[in-house]
Amino acid sequence: MSAAKGYFGKPMKRVEDPRLIKGIATYVDDITLPGMLHAAVLRSPYAHARINNIKADAAKASPGVVGVFTGADVNDKCGLVPCASPMPDSKIPKHTVLASDRVYFVGHPVAVVVAVDRYAARDALDFVEVDYDPLPVVSDPEKALEKDSPLTHPEFRTNVAFTWSVANGGLDAAFKRAHRVIKQRMIHQRLTPMAIEPRGCVASWHAGEGTLTLYTSTQIPHLVRTLLPGMISVPENRIRIVAPEVGGAFGSKLNLYAEEALCSHLAQRLGAPVKWIESRRENAAATIHGRDQIGEYEVAVKKDGTLLAIKSKTLADIGAYCQLNTPAIPTLTGLMLTGCYKCKAMRMDVVGVYTHKMATDAYRGAGRPEATYVIERLMDIIADELKLDPVKVRLKNFPKPTEFPFDTLTGLTYDSGNYQGALKKAQQISNWNKLTKQRDAARKSGKLFGIGLSTYVEICALGPSKMMSAGGWEWGCVRIEMSGKVTVITGATPHGQGQETSFAQIAADKLGVPIEDIVVMRGDTAVAHYGRDTYGSRATVIGGAAILMCIDKIIAKARKLAAHLLDTKEKSVEFRDGKFSAKGKPKKALTWKQLAPEAYVAKNIPQNWEPGLEASSFFEPPNCTYPFGTHIVAVEVDRDTGEVKIVKYVTVDDCGHQVNPLLVEGQLQGGIAHSIGQALFERTVYDENGQLLTGEFMDYAMPRAKDIPEYLMDSTVTPSPSNPMGIKGVGEAGTIGATPAIANAVMDALSPLGIRHLDLPLTPEKIWRAIAPVKVK
């Protein structure tokens, strides 16, 4: 598809935005059903404790309370919270919806109060008396592997949850051949996704029909519909899941959580709809966290900077439970560890470790930011060690544009790429030579000024079904209504990414209709019957292709109808700009508005022609997509306070053709904002007793408008061969590319002081301690 014609490729404002900006969109908490009850969850204040006894009498007697339920009341009626991606040697603890006889992290659900309003429910929580015996806690993953460490789940006799390895090439030979071997330990701190809308759900049981409707703030209504029958005794075809407007997710709502099953169960049990809305504190403590790996990395290089091999031993602190994709996240780190570079050998060994903390799982980038951070930091460290230019080291190791599709050591095939092109363009935009002169001048005047870059590649549009536990296809449906208006239904469940706009652009061009005639529906399994939802930057690529397939089918079908109505042969019907005409007779053309009523009233249709103009399709992608790009960052570090100021931010990203450049820019900007947080101040802190110290916005530092620099953004276009539009995902590229660029810039600023590496976040105090250790009393 051409990138310049019609709607495709045009920067268009989102059709979603007016309702969001006006405050007239419907989120879960806006849903009120007749007779609805309200649930509040009592959570453990301890990271590890035995529950001796729970007294709920006073809570039950509290005004407005309908019921109080503990693990003993519900766990035998609800299945376990699922993990969809166990490793072969995984030890998976029984993850009941409410704690049984022990609690394993602060925030662990212990009991639930259901009351006539949310105030009564919350008040009654204070009257539930739980007799806890605190037990030894382990919150540090390295200590968790020590011999005499407290055990997270004592029945396993170890804190090792799983192990996983990826290796290829002659590692020993490569290290032997190396001129230099460089080691670096890096910590990828734990992060809290902090979507502005916490989780929440409303479960409604229809006793007469024996059906359940669950409104839930989720990225994955279809996967929830598939998985929920394993937890409650309602089959899939009697469950409807609705994801209304979702106020941010970033991976944190790519899960089936205990509370969703609990409310579904209670709605059946109590014969009334049950609403539960998570508080911010609960969200920080009991919605999945991200990252949290510690790695020992080693690279073998030749003295000219050629990368020979990389190996890593990584601990992944996964917290107390395996949520849906917990074990899979570090494997994505392994698959992408070699980044956008050629390499002779690699090995990564991951040990997943249980600790008394909230589970980790997919958070924006999900395992790939760790990989890019490692390899891009290592590129700078190699350059530093060998006294080479970091740009030249990268150029030395890039595959050539002619080497694509490029097979990696980890078994992936990068679909298309021109890493040199993006780097060159970013250098031009950043005015590279002037920027380096600015750095020299700043340093001469005593300032700490640094330039950093990252040349990233990432894996997204996940993916071929063979890679994905529940399939990697996407479903779509397109219907030309009798009026000629067009309904596009996607199973991809966009929740803020803008596909109501971009899918309309795609469909409008392909059908030759005005975009205003199209509506895009999503998020309700009663409307979007099947789907694999949104995560891993997949929706536009895979969901968009499914829509194209539908339209191809409709056009083929409509061609037959048009031939009949135009009294000509099917192969002589031409379709152009939304009109069907007989070859050579363009004036006597039929529009969709003319064809559609004929298709539905069906009085004058070809023999054996099925009425209607609707088609659905599943698109199975042959490969993932691999967007890439270069970020260049300049920073100044305040020598006195250690504060980092970003003075220049340049990014050139390549996600193939762009359906809507405005959406691409928005996704990248948001992603970079996430990285600014991760690089400079965000971190989830548990103390040695497993107490969460960053449980609200007073203590967990999110990036704000004033922290965001001006971005100079541009792109290159290297189409993907993996889908008919030549597009690539872009939802996580910003986060994946930006973090190492910011870190490299700060490290470059500190390099004149002999500082090679500091772990993220690069807080003022951490930098100050590195700069002026003598001043620490």
Binding site: R122, D126, R280, E696, D699, W768, K777
Partner: protein, 281 residues
Amino acid sequence: MIPAAFDYLRPATLDEAIALLELHGADAKVLAGGHSLVPVMKLRLAQPKTVIDISSVADLSYVREQGDKIAIGAMTTHYDIEASPLLRDTCPLLTELAPQIGDAQVRNRGTIGGSLVHADPAADWPAAILALDADLEIAGSNGRRAVKATEFFVGMMETVVQSSEILCEIRVPTTARSVAYVKFAQRASGFAIAGVAVVVDGANKTVSVGVTGVAARPYRALAVESVLRGKVLNRDAIDQAAGIAAEGVEPLDDIHASAAFRAHLVQVNTRRALEVAVSRG
């Protein structure tokens, strides 16, 4: 994040408010702008039985000249201070500090009196109030009393205001332009990790320095003031003085800044605030 149940009272006069406080004793809390009290109530860290909302009490929100001082009603919002032409001309330290508090929503609702009585050790106002040597007028059933800023703060979240009293007015002197407030903010909350307010009195060759965020209660950096008394405020003098800004102080230590970093930052910001103030002199 739902507070425990409470009774809500909204008196129309100060006398009525004080009478209600006497009646309900320690179980009652005064609600001013709500930006300190409501969050702790939502977390149920505070569970007052009665909340006495003084937002309808007449004449507690003003900025006016009173003799040689400027009087500020305790219910004056941070924004009203930020936007006061009178304060900009006569006491610019306050108009410089106010926009550094929280965000626009906080400044539109939060009040100077509420902030001072809450006595969060990282709040911004105490630094200025101390540096300006303000007088704080407190109303109770036995009438009014005025205390000096240096006597006002007792400890963390604790002031001399008794449970049946209400802070009603803050009086500050007029100053020259040679003032400054320099703050190192906690990333998440925006509160001060080290906030330093400085007033340089060129005529009398004295400086006064108020510090917030560093210790359990805000303090006057008396050692700095004494070293600089009568001195020419050149670079060396400022550097030397700033170096003792944490003298005799036990800095707070938490996940946002260690005691050592706080002790360091107060020196940096004392130097910077003095430099800025002198440059404005």
